[in-house]
């Protein structure tokens, strides 16, 4: 049996697990609980991986594309909402298009170990034009047509939460996103957290992620800045807008400066 502290890791140790990976997924949603300090670490270390998966892709996605950390991104929504687009997305990027439903189905297929899950044909008309590799199937019972959405297995999921204990029990705080599904679809799960407590059970809170799912825990206060992590802090719009206005070549320096200033 692992000792309670065996999952505790340093930021560099945890960051290195993404090196050369085929597919990395980042938790959070919109400006909430994005693992931005981890993303900055990859940028300043010049780390590379193949595919980034995000439900909604915001600053973290833009930064990783602009810096060349991720070669392509898979998502159903990219952009920084009211704030516009950052330099990574403005420059154009390789995108594997998804819809909300197809992405959930693909991740669920990975969790369940099946070769596909069916998406109703009429929900996937636009998707199939962007993804010509998708195959159509016919239901053996009803005869209805579906798009067969293949599994999206993930090498490592990086999730930023509010509280965690050394065993890997995690309370996300704020928006739950799809983080439990992302963790289930991943071979390894790294959690960065605002607060490290001895035992989540003793806090009276129910864990969103439980210890059998989590491989590494990194105590990383401010790890979602300049985004938000409720109940602790909210997004820093001036910092986000500063990023939006950057040239693509300036993002690495922005990440270095952000780390020096404790932003993330």
């Amino acid at each position: 049996m692992a000792t309670p502290g065996a999952k505790l890791a340093t930021l560099p140790e945890a960051a290195a697990l993404a090196a050369g990976a085929s597919r990395i997924v980042l938790g959070g949603w919109s400006f909430s609980r994005r693992p931005l300090r981890m993303a900055m670490e990859w940028v300043i270390r010049g780390l590379r991986f193949e595919e980034l998966v995000v439900m909604t892709g915001g600053l973290e996605t833009d930064l990783l594309l602009a810096a060349g950390v991720a070669r392509r991104v898979r998502s159903f929504y990219l952009g920084m909402e009211a704030l516009g687009m950052g330099p990574g997305l403005k420059a154009g990027a390789e995108v594997v298009e998804e819809t909300e439903t197809s992405l959930v189905l693909g991740l669920n297929a990975a969790v369940e170990g099946v070769s596909f899950l069916p998406l109703p044909k009429h929900h996937g008309e636009a998707l199939s034009r962007m993804r010509p590799e998708l195959k159509a199937v016919r239901c053996p019972y009803s005869g209805a047509e579906y798009w067969a959405i293949p599994p999206i297995p993930v090498d490592v999921a990086y999730i930023h939460g509010w509280r965690a204990d050394p065993r890997g029990n995690v309370v996300l705080g704020g928006h739950k996103g799809a983080d439990r599904l992302l963790a289930l679809a991943a071979r390894r799960v790294v959690v960065t957290c605002e607060e490290l407590v001895d035992d989540i059970a003793a806090t009276g809170l129910e864990a969103d992620l439980t210890e059998p799912l989590v491989d590494k825990v990194v105590h990383l206060p401010g790890g979602a800045r300049p985004g938000g992590c409720l109940p602790g802090y909210e997004p820093d719009w001036p910092a986000l807008l500063e990023y939006v206005g950057l040239e693509r070549g300036a993002v690495t320096e922005w990440a270095k400066r952000g780390i020096r200033m404790g932003m993330g």
Binding site: F76, A82, V104, A126, H175, G177, L230, E234, W237, L241
Partner: protein, 284 residues
């Protein structure tokens, strides 16, 4: 001559009247006008209007609250009866809401047949330039009846003869022969049916000539009536309680003005104690 109401206020009020008939309003990401309209519908109905699903927290709530943009996640938690996980909302809840869900979507393009594009348009060199994405538009098109869309700045680049890429086709997705799409713009209100597309009403300060020039030729505008205006009490509710900081105006700002407006809004929201729930004053 324009009366004591601006375009943003008129659009929000028009949108709120449509949303008031829904059981659940989905706010959508980055959609200030839809948010303000939903909260106005809720306030006008004194809490008996639609419940609000807010993607900023993925919550369902009936709390009276003011509109929020930079603090939207915290606002979304006000009075929330549940924080959903995204897969639960997307694949389990949304399909159950057919005919009961309302949401105004801001398309990149909408065409004379009501088809929606949120994904890509060609740049000057005819290369596809990508925008937000496919999101959940195909799913929404099937459950939102009528389907609602809005354009803060209607012109021939966004209201087009044919969209460059069809993300969803709400009339085709709806099996009802009387399926409709409602489009609210800064110039007029349009209705799309299987029979035709026409301007239902033209805003009082917009000429028919200006409307014709900004509208695809296949759309009938000639018999549009004049858009009615909200009463003074509703305007007061909007300005003083639902959207005292003017979040609705963000969607009408572009370039440097937009950046300045966003920073001011952030400062205004940060300077106040959290004002999400306006429990201190009951709506009419």
């Amino acid at each position: 001559m324009k009366s004591d109401i601006d375009t943003a206020e008129l659009m929000v009020w028009l949108m709120s009247r449509h949303l008031a008939r829904a059981e659940v309003v989905q706010l959508g990401l980055a959609s200030a006008l839809n948010q303000v309209a939903a909260l106005l519908a809720h306030a006008v109905a004194q809490g008996q209007g639609p419940a609000v699903e807010d993607p900023a927290g993925l919550t369902l709530s009936r709390a009276y609250r003011s509109a929020s943009l930079s603090r939207s996640e915290r606002a979304a938690q006000q009075g929330a009866v549940r924080r959903f996980e995204a897969p639960e909302w997307i694949t389990q809840m949304m399909p159950r809401l057919a005919g009961r869900m309302g949401q105004f979507v801001r398309p990149l393009q909408i065409d004379a047949r009501g088809r929606i594009n949120t994904l890509q348009i060609a740049d000057a060199q005819r290369r596809p330039r990508r925008f937000a994405g496919l999101a959940g538009l195909a799913e929404l098109a099937e459950i939102a009846r009528p389907f609602f869309a809005y354009l803060p700045r209607q012109d021939r680049r966004c209201f087009v003869d044919e969209v460059e890429f069809v993300v969803c086709d709400p009339l085709a997705a709806n099996p009802d022969p009387n399926a409709r799409i409602i489009l609210v713009t800064d110039l007029a209100v349009f209705e799309f049916t299987r029979a035709d597309t026409r301007a239902v009403s033209c805003h009082p300060w917009v000429s028919k000539t200006a409307l014709r020039e900004a509208t695809p030729a296949a759309v009938i505008v000639e018999d549009a009536t004049v858009t009615p205006l909200p009463d003074a009490d509703t305007l007061r509710l909007l300005r003083e309680q639902v959207d005292p900081l003017g979040i609705r105006n963000i969607e009408f700002l572009y370039g440097k003005d937009r950046r300045t407006g966003l920073l001011k809004l952030y400062a205004d929201e940060a300077a106040r104690p959290f004002f999400g729930a306006h429990s201190e004053h009951r709506p009419r």
